[in-house]
């Protein structure tokens, strides 16, 4: 047997140990690659989405790379930990350190290389599926066709070969630091009880409580000022929550015998304090990342829904056309085009119009006035309040922005026209039906007719009965056909569609990155768990001999897994809920429904993940116990 044969057999006959490491590496390559396929998609790159988004996508790609780095490093160290004893044995039998390092380095580079290749192949298949899914799910307009992602392949290949070589070098260095005695004793070396500081535990509690309290109290624009300090405080608090407070609480429960000495509590909790300490940093990372993605996705979804609703509320009519001065020659053809398109589509519609007459005030500025009868016709069509005016009565109309915070009410202001009339509005109203850039006055027909009407713009509204969404095609065609500067054409269906498109891409990126972090976090736990499996097997085999029922065993394991799986998620959900709650007060719009949807989906995924792993894990421990 030559050295090379030995190294080769070592891999082949240790399939199971290597498989976990191989799969986790291939998995991170796949995630990175699939994302790269999107980021480099020619349709997205060719200006269909704006530059900021595509910069954002590449930034996120960098994030995923950093994450992959830690992920691979982590699985690598878990993998090496299980083989410590083997290495110790080899050195004891006379293998030189150089040979050992050579072996480990070669193994790792080989595994890395094959993992990269298989990750890319798997990624190709997955990206095809995801491209299909993204179209349907996000109602993206034109399909994102599958393409041969040469750029993405090259990037993933280069990035991961560098990554694996670096990590292999890194482990070789770590390996040297180990003494023979540590290698041989491997993981069986007894460990001292995890320590925690009372002070830092309290600090965790205070920081979290303080952060939450501030987040719950602040309102409106103060949310923005409070955001960064509160986030920092909560992040530090979360860190100490996992590293200190959790261990401290378990330690405290130890001295409470009426609790600790009951049933399976002792077995369950004594182990948990070690696992909490081991996993504290992972938990912290998972909780922080999940909280950020929860709030990001939640606010994105909320923002999209909000914008769409505002758009629909403020535009009661399917089409609006405003003809400005100098457009008189084009307007009839445009209007005719709209009407003929509506007729061809067999839509039941009503055409409404209002003359917007510009008057000069005695101070020289311009003010717009509208005839009451025309205003009332439009208001009626939009199911809004009409105004009753006679003589020189007037009503001021203004636009109230409902997006940020409360309605901005405006008091009626009187104005004196240069023609000699004084407009003293008795009321000020903010409708949605007829709006222009500035506030304007509705005046009685008789007064309107007396005014000079040289400078006029005309507002046309097409009130289409039935579902406005059906007018999307007309809206898109007309938007493309109409050219000129002296008019404004607006199709509600097309605008709403554009909004969905714009948010769609951003949402997709958000959901994708969120999902990546989420799955990666789950996999972190999974590998962590399997590193502990041999210890658990040995431990439970001996306790079973003393007399432990299967039911009690699965109860202990289930409770441990429950905590490992849901502690970070639970914390992330609480953080996310508080954050969304604050954002809700900033926008003055309820994000509840969207938040629950997003959080619920993630929890559901985690529950499925938990159930799968729990069953497998318990079965593996039970299978190990003889005579069952």
């Amino acid at each position: 047997m030559t050295f090379r044969q030995f190294a080769f057999n070592n891999v082949l006959r240790n399939k199971r140990t290597y498989a976990a490491y191989f799969l986790s590496s291939a998995f991170s390559v796949m995630v990175f690659f699939v994302y790269a396929v999107f980021a480099f998609h020619p349709d997205l790159a060719n200006g269909k989405i704006n530059n900021n988004i595509s910069t954002g996508m590449h930034f996120a790609e960098g994030l995923i790379y950093v994450f992959s780095f830690f992920f691979v490093l982590y699985s690598m160290s878990a993998f090496l930990k299980t083989r410590k004893k083997e290495f110790g044995l080899m050195i004891m039998l006379g293998m030189t350190h150089t040979q050992l390092r050579k072996m480990v380095f070669l193994e790792n580079v080989l595994i890395g290389f094959f993992a990269t290749i298989s990750g890319i192949v798997l990624g190709l298949v997955l990206s095809k599926l995801l491209l299909l899914a993204s179209e349907n799910f996000l109602q993206l307009d034109e399909s994102l066709p599958f393409y041969m992602p040469i750029k993405a392949i090259m990037l993933a290949l280069a990035a991961f070969i560098v990554l694996f070589v670096l990590i292999s070098l890194f482990t070789v260095i770590i390996l040297r630091a180990n003494n023979l005695i540590d290698l041989i004793k491997g993981s069986s070396k007894p460990r001292t009880e995890p320590k925690s500081s009372v002070l830092l535990s309290w600090l965790a509690l205070i920081l979290l409580a303080g952060g939450y309290a501030v987040a719950m109290i602040v309102k409106g624009i103060f949310v923005v000022y409070a955001m960064i300090p509160v986030t920092l405080v909560v992040i530090i608090g979360t860190y100490f929550l996992f590293t200190q407070l959790s261990v401290y609480l378990i330690h405290k429960s130890r001295s409470k015998r009426s609790f600790f000495w009951r049933g399976t509590n002792m077995l369950f909790l004594s182990d948990l304090s070690y696992r909490m300490k081991d996993n504290a940093r992972t938990f912290f990372m998972v909780a922080a990342l999940s909280a950020v993605s929860f709030s990001a996705i939640g606010s994105l979804v909320g923002f999209k829904t909000m914008s769409t609703e505002v758009l629909l509320n403020e535009n009661p009519f399917a089409f609006e056309y405003v003809s400005y001065e100098g457009n008189e020659s084009v307007a009839p053809t445009h209007l005719e085009a709209i009407e003929s398109a509506l007729r061809a589509g067999k839509f039941d519609y009503a055409r409404l119009q209002a003359t917007l007459s510009e008057q000069t005030t005695d101070s020289g500025s311009k003010v717009t006035v509208v005839k009451a009868s025309e205003y009332n016709a439009i208001a009626q069509a939009a199911n809004e309040q009409t105004v009753q005016l006679s003589g020189d009565q007037a009503a001021m109309v203004y636009y109230a922005n409902k997006v940020m915070g409360e309605k901005t009410e405006q008091k009626a202001r009187s104005v004196r026209l240069s023609a000699g009339y004084e407009l003293k509005p008795s009321t000020s109203i903010s409708p949605t039906s007829l709006l222009i850039d500035d506030s304007y006055y509705v005046i009685a027909d008789s007064l309107f007719d007396m005014l000079d009407r040289r400078e006029t713009n005309v507002f046309y509204a097409f009130d289409v009965k039935g579902d406005y969404k059906k007018t999307l095609k007309i809206g898109r065609n007309l938007t493309e056909i109409f050219h000129g500067d002296n008019f404004r054409f607006q199709s509600l269906a097309y605008d709403a569609h554009q909004l969905t498109q714009g948010f769609g891409v951003v949402l997709f990126i958000g959901l994708f990155i969120g999902a990546v972090f989420f799955v990666a976090a789950g996999s972190f736990l999974y590998f962590r768990l399997y590193a502990d499996l041999p210890d658990d097997k040995a431990k439970f085999a001996s306790i079973m001999k003393l007399g432990l029922t299967d039911g009690e065993l699965s109860k202990i394991l289930t409770r441990q897994l429950l905590i490992l799986f849901f502690a970070p998620i639970a914390v992330a959900i609480v953080h996310g809920a508080i954050a969304l709650n604050s954002l809700q007060r900033l926008f003055g719009y309820s994000l509840m429904r969207e938040s629950f949807l997003v959080l619920g989906t993630f929890v559901l995924i985690q529950v499925v993940y938990f159930l799968l792993i729990r069953t497998r894990y318990i079965r593996q421990v039970l299978d190990f116990i003889p005579n069952r």
Partner: protein, 256 residues
Amino acid sequence: MEMLSVRQLSKIYGGKVPSRALTDISLSIEEGEFVGIMGPSGSGKTTLLHLVAAIDTPTTGEVLINGSNPHKLKKRDLARFRRRELGFVFQDFNLLNTLTVEENIVLPLTLEGERVKVMEEKVAIIANKLGIESILKKRIYEISGGQAQRTAIARAMIHSPKFLFADEPTGNLDSKSARDVMETLSEINRSEGTAMMLVTHDAVAASYCHRVVFIKDGQLFNEINCGESRQAFFQKIIDVLSLLGGNAHDLSTIRV
């Protein structure tokens, strides 16, 4: 009264080439009796212990502990039966590193849902008897092998079992600690009247028994009783061991 009765017990391990580990073993242990099982490596001692303690199932034959057959119990009831009626001491102690000495000792009682007060009283009594009061708060990695084995004995005895199984309890200990452990077991056997079954390679350990049963190639080989003197009994054990094959002097040093 008969505490353990083994009738025509056989065990065949399956696989491509089935191997016969035990053949038609019959054995009886009285209440309060301390019986040693000896034999060369691979003779089936540990298999016998596992079958008797219901850790493994026999191919044929019957085991009765205090009149009931543990192999006929449901898995759930078997676990209960073990932690109520039986005590175990292992070569590698099988103590949990994450618990203190005291917590290790009360473990079987916590699973039974015993009251804390009762558990504390029992720990105090048993620790006093075994001389481990001073280490009760220590962790497992802080105590020596002899102390660990006495902790394991305390755990096995805390619920006053009817029967104690010991699988090479002195195998990992030096001769001084081994003697301490055997004296402890012997003392418990005397004062509590617990029946014990000890599997060992160590002739010195075996000499603490009332009776030693020898097994060779899965079958009963011989059986000798302790007479007046432990020294004479020890000599008799050595004689049988040399008869079993091998030299007297190397047998007594085999520990694993």
